[in-house]
Amino acid sequence: MQSPLEHVVLFHVGPVPISEPVVVTWLIMAGLGLFAFLSARKLAILPSRTQTVLELFVTVLDDQIRETMRRDPAPFRPLIGTLLLFVLFANWMSLIPGIEPPTAHIETDAALALWVFVATIAFGISGRGLRGYLDTFVEPSWVMMPLNLIEQITRTFSLIIRLFGNVMSGVFVVGIVLSLAGLFVPIPLMALELLTGAVQAYIFAILATVFIGAAAGESEEIPLTAKESE
């Protein structure tokens, strides 16, 4: 049985080995980027079917961010939306035969979680100012400062391990059942994997929202929800 911590190196670009998760990641990026470009090229007042679905997605995403952060969702929409879509499609890559989800390898998850970590600091400084953001580390008193610093690292680490563990264990269990039982037996488990993948993508995005929202702080006036502003 292959270790989940090892990689299949497909080819080399100069001295850099390119492994399978990287290629799958590039495919997802290309696919999502192409779809977004094509569907956003011809936007109309009277929306087409694709545009309606996309508008529904953006509205639901905005409502979630607004309810969680109590801030205007516009600055956070690109990052949170991209994280949600990328993790969702990466988790569902196991549906294509022969392809492992890139999130089943710890490096992809580490890259995503490090972006959340960087975004937390960036939005914290832009939301509260450098002094205000550093002040959050000595709340409620200066005794808590080591714990607050450690929390920054441990929650990023748990974000990595959570996504990696869930997706990888799904792939692993399907592999074990397939080697024991045969062709059609793992199908219910794979259906369960679809649910787990969607839930984990949602949780990853919501936790990123919670972390960034906690760092940026609440804005003074609570913005209206979409329904109230109509």
Binding site: S3, L5, E6, S158, I161, R162, N166, Q200, I206, L207
Partner: protein
């Protein structure tokens, strides 16, 4: 018998880690879901907020079980003593 003592102990400890590590989070998740069901039954209009908070909380609890799984995998596949 094939395999040295370290490998045998590694496999055993991986199984023990996962099995006992799953007990606590399972009980905790059960309690959390039961409490959320109770709250939704009392106040159905708050179901959206409750289920979002529930999912985040479940993810936090589940992380404990995932940690034991990672420890088990490290012991099985990246054991520094073998």
């Amino acid at each position: 018998m094939e395999g040295n003592l370290v490998e045998i102990v590694s496999v055993l400890s991986a199984a023990i880690a996962v099995s006992f590590g799953a007990i606590g989070p399972a009980l905790g998740e059960g309690r959390a879901v039961a409490a959320a069901m109770d709250a939704i039954a009392r106040q159905p209009e708050a179901a959206g907020t409750l289920s979002r908070t529930l999912f985040v909380g479940l993810a936090m609890i589940e992380t404990m079980a995932i940690y034991t799984l990672v420890i088990a995998l490290l012991v099985l596949f990246a054991n520094p003593f073998v």
